[in-house]
Amino acid sequence: MTAEIIPFEQTAPERASDEPSLVVDVEGFEGPLDLLLTLARQQKVDLAKISILALADQYLVFIEEARKLRLELAADYLVMAAWLAYLKSRLLLPDLNAPEGQSAEDMATALAFRLKRLEAFRDVAAKLMDRPQLQRDIFDRGDPEPIAQIKHPQWSATLYDLLSAYAVQRQKQAAGTRVRFEQRKVWSLAEARGALERLMGASTDWGRFDEFLIAYVVEPSMVATVTASSFASALEMVREGVLELQQHAAFAPLYIRKRSDPGQSPTPGAAAQ
């Protein structure tokens, strides 16, 4: 397990500031930058004056030692080692190939900057945590007094609420008290036919159709339905050969009589039925 780099979110043991020169132990380092910063601190100079070349050497030695011990190093440690080896070669042989982009000095400055920045943030983090903290050093009112709320109800309703409430209840009331739909008085065809059969009796004399109906038209409101149903039934009975109808002109009175020879249909249609 010693070979494993402790995941950084675990609380790492505090590193002594005056660590003995080079103990090969990556435990507790939070990645290559953290390791580099620790190595840089061992140079015991202002980070601004640090020798990146010396730092690169130290790091590479460290990594070499770790590999000799067959410590399993996380990939980013090896990437950093490769990068530092490259940087070192560039620093030692300045104009080699003169490649595009950053000069070796720029790269070294950028690395120094990152180290300084990491240190600076560690510094302010420590300062922040040293501040008196609420509920640890400083306390607010332990037993605050409740603020009573005086509630003012604010009523709201929309015009739609109002109108639909009015309409719904008026409608309901109207339906409940008055709108009992009357049974519509209609003569069914069956009723009309029954009546016709009874009225015609055995009479084979011509008679006026409307006179037959008078007896049934008790109320004026029934005239239409009685007339319509009787006429329809009469036509039906004519077709069956039970009755005969005749009319002398349009809108002239209609005459009706029972056929004397029922059974013989006067119309081909009735026979077909």
């Binding site: 306390f139 332990g142 007094e145 409740p146 009573a148 015009l159 409430a165 719904v168 009331q173």
Partner: protein
Amino acid sequence: MASLAQKRMIQNEDLQSEQNVRPEEMRLLEAMLFASKEPLDEKTLSARLPQGVDLRATLDMLKTEYAPRGVNLVKINGKWTFRTAGDLSWLLTKEAVQPRKLSRAAIETLAVVAYHQPVTRAEIEDIRGVTMSKGTLDVLLETGWVRPRGRRKVPGRPITYGTTEDFVSHFGLEQLSDLPGLEELKGSGMLDGRLPPNFSVPIPSDDPALREDEDPLEPGDLDFGLAPRAESTEE
């Protein structure tokens, strides 16, 4: 500002002298009592204070010192705590607007009052076909949309109700007669066609002038809201 600056000077002088005499144990006590989640008894306070402190005397000093302030040191049930001065309890209240929706019964009643005003309770009940709980009218009076406007000249002289100007403005009407009539209600589908022939919707009017069958209200008729409000029972 001059007077304030002056006051401040005096204040600071006071502070100076106060600082000179204010014993450390007073600081300790006020911090403990302030931070504690509950009132503390003297035994607890004593245990936390440095030895040799006269607790009673210090508490008394603190009590005297805070007596004229907005926060007082008080003893409740034998335990000490800071409490807001009694005369400032009003500071610890917060006024909040609470939106409320009218109940179905209330809005139906309101609609009947709006269309049929001036209308008595009995008439409202007749139109609605249900008896009305006292709470419903109370709520409507509280909304400020309904007001008693007179008394009907009939036996019992019941109070007649009508709507207020607030009602008209809340519902975004220019005038009360803008409430839709029978045809408009039918047209909007709120009333359907199956209505008896004699069905009618009145043309509403909130003319404050009393009608022929109304008497003015009498002194005392308006003392409604003073009585404790009954909770609305009708849903």
